[in-house]
């Protein structure tokens, strides 16, 4: 059972974002093409869809690789991921002109205005969600494929 540890880690890592992104894509498609929400999300949606499962898989490989030397709980390891992904996503969208910074808040996709007071919650929620997903979903899948 010690063979192909990193392949198993990658496969266990990609399950959660792959399933989640299908739901997100369905919601985006309904919002954009069904409800005619004036937000050009299709310009950027392919990018996170291609990146996210791979990032999760590679992050889980890193977790498995670091385990003998650095005994981090998997929830904490997963909670570190938004610190990389969120700024990356923000700068990508702002460089494409899809995010505009205004005096009172941030305008996403020319449709979704988020005041700065509300924007404070986004990283906190993101970190909490990643902690829970990694602890309970990725951790369980790691145990299932014999990585614990």
């Amino acid at each position: 059972m010690n063979q192909h540890r990193y392949l198993r880690a990658y496969m266990a890592g990609i399950v959660a974002p792959t399933l989640f992104l299908l739901v997100v894509l369905a919601v985006f498609c309904i919002a954009r093409f069904g409800l005619k929400v004036p937000a050009p999300i299709e310009q950027v949606i392919v990018f996170p869809m291609a990146i996210m499962p791979n990032v999760f898989g590679l992050w889980n490989i890193l977790y498995v690789k670091l385990q003998p030397h650095w005994h981090t709980p998997i929830g904490l390891h997963g909670a570190l991921l938004p610190f990389i992904l969120a700024p990356f996503g923000f700068f990508t969208a702002s460089s494409l002109g899809l995010v505009k910074i205004t005096n009172g808040g941030v305008l996403y996709f020319n449709a979704l205005y988020v005041p700065y007071g509300l924007l404070v919650f986004v990283p906190l929620i993101g970190i909490a969600l990643y902690y829970l997903v990694w602890k309970y979903i990725v951790g369980s899948l790691n145990a299932l494929v014999g990585l614990k």
Binding site: F121, L129, K135, Y136
Partner: protein, 73 residues
């Protein structure tokens, strides 16, 4: 190798190796039953429930954050 040689080797091997104890030292089935009847030890601690609840409350209060999270995460 002829028959007497084989017999001799077989005798030597039997003498050299200790006899194997094939009997179980104890009955394993009651332990197995106890293990099967145990409730799952993996229950979420209270702070994880609190965290999940807080996230749910914030998302219910500000549903526009759904789109933002879906993009950023």
């Amino acid at each position: 190798m002829n028959e007497p040689d084989q017999n001799e080797i077989s005798t030597l091997l039997r003498e050299a190796l200790p006899p194997m104890n094939t009997e179980l030292r104890r009955d394993l089935w009651p332990t197995m039953l106890r293990r099967l009847e145990q409730p799952s030890a993996r229950t979420a601690p209270w702070y994880d429930w609190a965290l999940a609840g807080s996230v749910a409350v914030v998302l219910c209060l500000f549903p526009q954050l759904f789109l933002l999270l879906a993009y950023h995460l």
